[in-house]
Symmetry: C2
Subunit: 363 residues, 2 copies
């Protein structure tokens, strides 16, 4: 017989992006950083000692928390370290949202959010973004009117790369009656000239939490390490009560510390990604692909159908040529490809394959 709860039986799980094991495939489908982790991470990994695994790890990763606090100029009690950003999202729901209470999110958005809401048996309020991928002006009203207890937004937005400015975030935190999670998974790729920095808002708002991850900016998707930054009253119940008792293994704590410590290397990779983002967007536009303005490490692309065919056809054609990208075709994401900014060489190969499509369709 099936013992599943009804909400679990009725739901679908999260679908992970395609991860071929071969090293030939050019992976531009899951927004990994094309550059390797810091040489300081490399050195640390080369000196790991298995005997350190014999004992339980520090339960709350306090050394990492101190380091993150120092880098972001906040206090240790503003930080919780988690197994990837995913664990933080789950902990927020577990700690702050009763089953049956509504969770709000913008649409489109990260496909994991509704999955996590369903696991807690929470209705989902999806609020469509405007045509320019910004939040509608009545976003907060809608959230409040539905009595939503938690709102997820991504900034820069996925899968478009659109950045909301600090004022928009401030206003939203002010207007919402409940908790706002700003998922800053892609924050490191924002042009520094924009001077986006919302973290100081956690001093002012006790309903605001920022998600950070080492998966993208620090080239460590395989490590599963993220953290939350918020007012201590939001952090402490997750840190002291709802977190799995030893959520972070010893090695990953050490590796995360090494990665965060080497800000200089990380910043170099971010700048290289930004430079390549610009080059790639120009090359794609020249071939008839409209690119939404992006402050993330990916581009949301709409192909000119007459020149290049449909996004679905292009996705398949690229796959045949060992290039993986992400394909969308939903009401709000019609005929779209999301392409991770790769290394210069990877991007060149992508453009070369797309040029062949152009020749094929115009011949």
């Amino acid at each position: 017989m099936s013992y599943e709860r009804k909400n679990i039986a009725a739901m679908q799980g999260y679908q992970s992006g395609e991860q071929p094991e071969d090293s030939l495939t050019i992976k531009l489908n899951t927004n990994e950083n094309p550059y390797p982790p810091s040489p300081m991470v490399d050195e640390l990994v080369n000196n790991l000692n298995s005997d350190n695994l014999r004992r339980y790890p520090p339960p709350t990763a306090d050394k990492f928390r101190s380091l993150a606090a120092k880098i972001h100029e906040v206090q240790v009690n503003n930080i919780i370290a988690t197994r990837g950003g995913d664990e933080l999202l789950r902990l927020l729901i577990t700690t702050y949202v009763e089953p049956g209470e509504t969770i709000a999110m913008s649409e489109p958005s990260y496909s994991l959010y509704p999955v996590l809401a369903q696991i807690q048996n929470c209705p989902i309020l999806k609020i469509p973004l405007q045509d320019d991928w910004t939040l509608p002006t009545d976003f907060a009203d809608k959230v409040n009117n539905h009595g939503a207890k938690l709102t997820f937004i991504v900034n820069p937005h996925a899968p478009t790369g659109r950045l909301l400015d600090e004022l928009s975030i401030t206003k939203l935190a002010e207007q919402l009656d409940s908790i706002l999670l700003v998922d800053e998974a892609y924050v490191d790729f924002i042009d520094p000239k924009i001077k986006y920095d919302c973290l100081k808002l956690v001093e002012k708002f006790d309903n605001l939490i920022f998600l950070r991850t080492l998966s993208k900016g620090y080239s460590l998707a395989g490590l599963r390490f993220g953290y939350g930054i918020a007012h201590p009253t939001l952090i402490s119940p997750m840190l002291d009560k709802t977190r799995d008792s030893y959520n972070l293994d010893f090695f990953s704590q050490k590796i995360a510390e090494a990665a965060l410590r080497d800000q200089s290397y990380a910043q170099q990779t971010w700048q290289k990604v930004r430079d390549e983002r610009k080059n790639l967007a120009q090359a794609l536009e020249a071939l008839g692909y409209y690119c939404a303005p992006s402050q993330a490490n990916f581009l949301l692309v709409t192909p000119d159908k007459n020149l290049n065919g449909s996004a679905e056809m292009l996705y398949e054609y690229l796959k045949q040529n060992n290039i993986l990208v992400r394909f969308f075709n939903t009401p709000l994401l019609k005929d779209k490809l999301r392409i991770t900014v790769g290394s210069p060489n990877e991007n060149r190969q992508l453009i070369d394959v797309l040029k062949k499509v152009l020749r094929k369709s115009s011949s």
Copy 2:
């Protein structure tokens, strides 16, 4: 303001065991294995490559699952790999128990169980063990009468080390209307002559799941790696729906595979622990400490008060002498110490310190 759910606001979190950072302290308080991880783990750790962290890890750790299935002579779909045993316990509750439904457990038992139940806002049914630490004969009736949806038992039992035999487990799975989790965290330390092996029961019962961990038997408490073994219908909703999307990082998957592969080394450490368990129990009994018969890597000890004083006093005295043990004083665990079986040298030092107590109290 506080946004916490009422059940979270009302609860206390799990208290981790004391973990001093110095290497002088003899840690006999959290049941870690006194021997280092396998040389094969050591070799693997020495050859880890940080570049493998750049991409997302295999989401369901299928190589580990295959290996575990082979070792336990079950199928891959009988296995789920989890971040320590803790994650499996949480997933069982999330997937199978509605908030408000009862979770049953024997008393005394692992102190994390009630914490996890409270997080899901589930009433807890604690059923006291008999004087010999076995289950009362009406255990299943009580669970069924309370309509409990999930029952946790530990076998060998913690904190006593008492082993239930296969027939008891079989009967219990048969009698219960709902899911039975048998926490086999300490299974590796059972005397092989007893021929305890319940895993084949998962073919017969779709309500039975076994928890295993690499923390104790494989000397990898710092790795956070465990797994569940059950009928595929119990495994699959947790594997495909409720598990965090990438719950296990790349390195830990590789390390866990290496550890499991080296059964021969692991079995040697288990035998050494068994031999030392016998020696330690004899030495303790000679000093006036009654030791409950244990099939785990720890001993539950009752001091003869006249000879040695109270458990609390002994705990403090040992701590002053850089030896940590676990102290209990609850209605069902009156005046008890739980002492992890350490290395021969650690156990000798423990006995030496306890001999001084004897001299002090008899002088």
